[in-house]
């Protein structure tokens, strides 16, 4: 990166932190620190909710996913708008009416203390580990691309978020979310326009869409039902609906964002805006990756996008083999570029036989390119069995560094840092709320607001230290990250089942739902261990089991009593 890019990056980071601290000065009550005094309007709620969900990995891996796999990942979000509507009808009025700080507080009022403790405990374990991964995942990519030490990158990412989250609490988090999210989206739009302008002369947006389609990248909808297929219309609409319902309705990192709304109306409007904007936004970010794919149809891509792995191969014992693969890859890329141009020319001149033949040769060139990549990945694995063999997260930043103008490069990196700070700060604030409200205040009731705020600040610092420590630990245990992600999806359905039982089954009591949650959790873990069912369905299975078993136990208890 050039000195101008470094200046843009560090100025932006300093502005984010200073803005957060400035907007939240004078917090002296727990109500202000954990819920921003419930004074936020719907625009702030909407941006805060969207910024919390869109972590740095979203902005790194989604364009990469578009490049590799096309638009199909968008189906993952189809259930989200429906979940927003249900939450507006159900959860928001209840949480506001009861004036709760956390979602789990409601469970004690509806059931009992043990159900609240179970849900809060599951959240603290799952979100505490996830906070470490939220820091680790972008730190890994940034450290490779910028040549930084990964440990210090984790400390920097965590340190930036913790400064304003500790001093200003929820208010600082909400206000910085608005600023950071606006910068992220502006940067993404600027990158999209510049990539479009970087296409070779004579290639129109229509031509770009056509060659992307020929490359299989416009596969936005798969209507065939297959429970083992991770992304299709049905898994997105049904499995995704339950996942989003659980995430937005029961995960304090989201509940804490919309409870900052000054009324039911403001919180509802914030969530509905998310329901309107989220799917088009994801489609746009995936399209950015598809556009990078189109760009690389005419400008040869690297054989592998992770520069550190490439350097290791080029200077290692298999250097000659790697160079031969690189050469083959470049020749195949040149052939594919020629066929892409031939396809476009034949399509324009309405030359049907010429078009058919160019399309066949394009597919062949594409297959040759894929073959050299597969062989490269095999070589990487042969040289180092523990090496990262997925380079999806490196696609976008590699493109940015190599092809975007000075100044915008620094801004894109600032956007990645901002996205990491967004999700980390919301996570830290939610972990703090749950620790203070669902644990500390139950053990040490009473106390004045000032003391509670200081306890919250200490809790934020402690969770930040834990997250950074876990991120450092995770950097030495690659497989643990996948495990942590799976752990999250294993619990969401059960927690959602507890909440939906609370909302919709008024006759079910605390003991019935507690036992049902335990049984459902065992069943979900059995599904994970013994079947190939895609993880999105665990949310539906866990939720349905809790509700059905709770109903049965409740009926049995009534009969026994009678």
């Amino acid at each position: 990166m050039s000195p101008i890019d470094w200046a843009v990056l560090f100025t932006a980071l300093a502005c984010f932190v200073a803005y957060g601290v400035w907007r939240s000065r004078g917090e002296s009550h727990l109500h202000d620190f954990l819920l921003a005094g419930r004074k936020m309007r719907w625009g702030t709620v909407a941006f805060s909710v969207m910024a919390t969900q869109a972590s740095a990995v979203t902005f790194l891996s989604t364009p990469g996913q578009g490049y590799v796999d096309g638009l199909r990942f968008v189906q993952f979000y189809f259930g989200l708008p429906l979940a927003m509507v249900i939450l507006c009808i159900t959860a928001i009025p209840i949480y506001h009416r009861l004036g709760v700080f956390t979602a789990y507080e409601y469970l004690e009022r509806r059931f009992d203390g043990k159900t609240r403790s179970l849900a809060a405990g599951l959240f603290l374990i799952q979100r505490g580990l996830a906070a470490g991964i939220t820091l680790y995942a972008p730190a890994l990519v940034l450290s490779v691309i910028l040549g930084w030490d990964i440990g210090w990158t984790c400390v920097l990412l965590g340190g930036l978020a913790v400064v304003y989250t500790t001093t200003g609490g929820s208010k600082a988090v909400s206000h910085t979310h608005v600023l950071q999210f606006a910068i992220i989206m502006t940067t993404m739009v600027a990158a999209f326009v510049l990539i479009l302008m970087s296409l070779p002369a004579g290639i129109s947006p229509g031509d770009a869409a056509y060659v992307a389609a020929q490359g299989g990248k416009l596969n936005a909808l798969q209507a065939r039902f297959d429970p083992n297929d991770r992304y299709n219309l049905w898994s997105g609409l049904i499995g995704g609906f339950f996942l989003q319902l659980s995430y937005f309705g029961t995960d304090q990192s989201q509940v804490g964002r919309y409870l900052t709304g000054q009324s039911v109306t403001q919180s509802r409007l914030g969530l509905l805006f998310n329901g309107l904007a989220k799917v088009p936004m994801q489609l746009f970010i995936l399209s950015l990756g598809v556009l990078v794919f189109v760009f690389h149809l005419f400008v040869a891509p690297p054989v592998f996008f992770n520069p550190a792995v490439r350097e290791t191969l080029a200077s290692g014992p298999a250097a000659a083999e790697y160079q031969a693969l690189e050469l083959r890859h470049r020749l195949a890329a040149d052939a594919r570029a020629n066929e892409a141009r031939a396809m476009i020319a034949a399509r324009r001149s309405v030359d049907a036989p010429g078009l058919a033949s160019a399309e066949t040769r394009f597919v062949e060139a594409q297959q040759e390119l894929a073959k050299t990549r597969t062989e490269t990945v095999a070589l990487i694995r042969a040289q180092d069995p523990g090496a990262q063999t997925s380079d999806t997260n490196y696609v976008f930043l590699s493109f940015v560094l190599a092809h975007l103008p000075v100044g915008l490069i620094g801004l894109v990196f600032a956007a990645v840092f901002a996205a990491s700070m967004n999700s980390s700060s919301a996570e830290l604030n939610a972990l703090t709320s749950t620790t203070v409200v669902d644990v500390y205040k139950r053990i040490v009731p009473g106390g004045d607001g000032r003391r509670d705020v200081w306890v919250s600040r200490v809790a934020t610092l402690a969770w930040a230290a834990f997250a950074v420590g876990f991120a450092e630990f995770a950097s030495r245990l690659g497989s643990l990250i996948e495990a942590v992600n799976i752990v999250g999806s294993l619990f969401y359905g059960t927690i959602l089942g507890i909440f939906l039982t609370a909302f919709y089954l008024p006759r079910v009591g605390g003991t019935a739902v507690f036992v049902a949650a335990m049984v459902a959790e065992v069943a979900v873990i059995a599904c994970f261990k013994l079947t190939a069912i895609s993880f999105l369905w665990y949310n539906l299975i866990g939720c349905a089991l809790v509700m059905v078993i709770a109903l049965l136990i409740s009926a049995l208890m009534v009969r026994k009593r009678a």
Binding site: L71, V74, Q75, F78, P81, L82, M84, V85, C88, I89, P93, H96, R97, G99, A212, A213, Q214, G216, K217, L218, N219, A220, L221, Q222, A223, L233, S263, V264, T265, R268, L269, L272, G275, L276, V279, P280, L283
Partner: protein
């Protein structure tokens, strides 16, 4: 706190706003289907 059933500032009723969200989702799904079909 304001009343729970306060009408939204746009479109007059919450049901109408919910319908807008659902209709937009349907339109996006139709767009995705059209893109996939065009791409085949």
């Amino acid at each position: 706190m304001k009343p729970v059933e306060e009408p939204p500032p746009f479109l007059g009723s919450w049901s109408a706003l919910y319908a807008v969200v659902v209709i937009e989702l349907l339109l996006v799904i139709v767009l995705c289907g059209w893109l996939s079909r065009w791409g085949r």
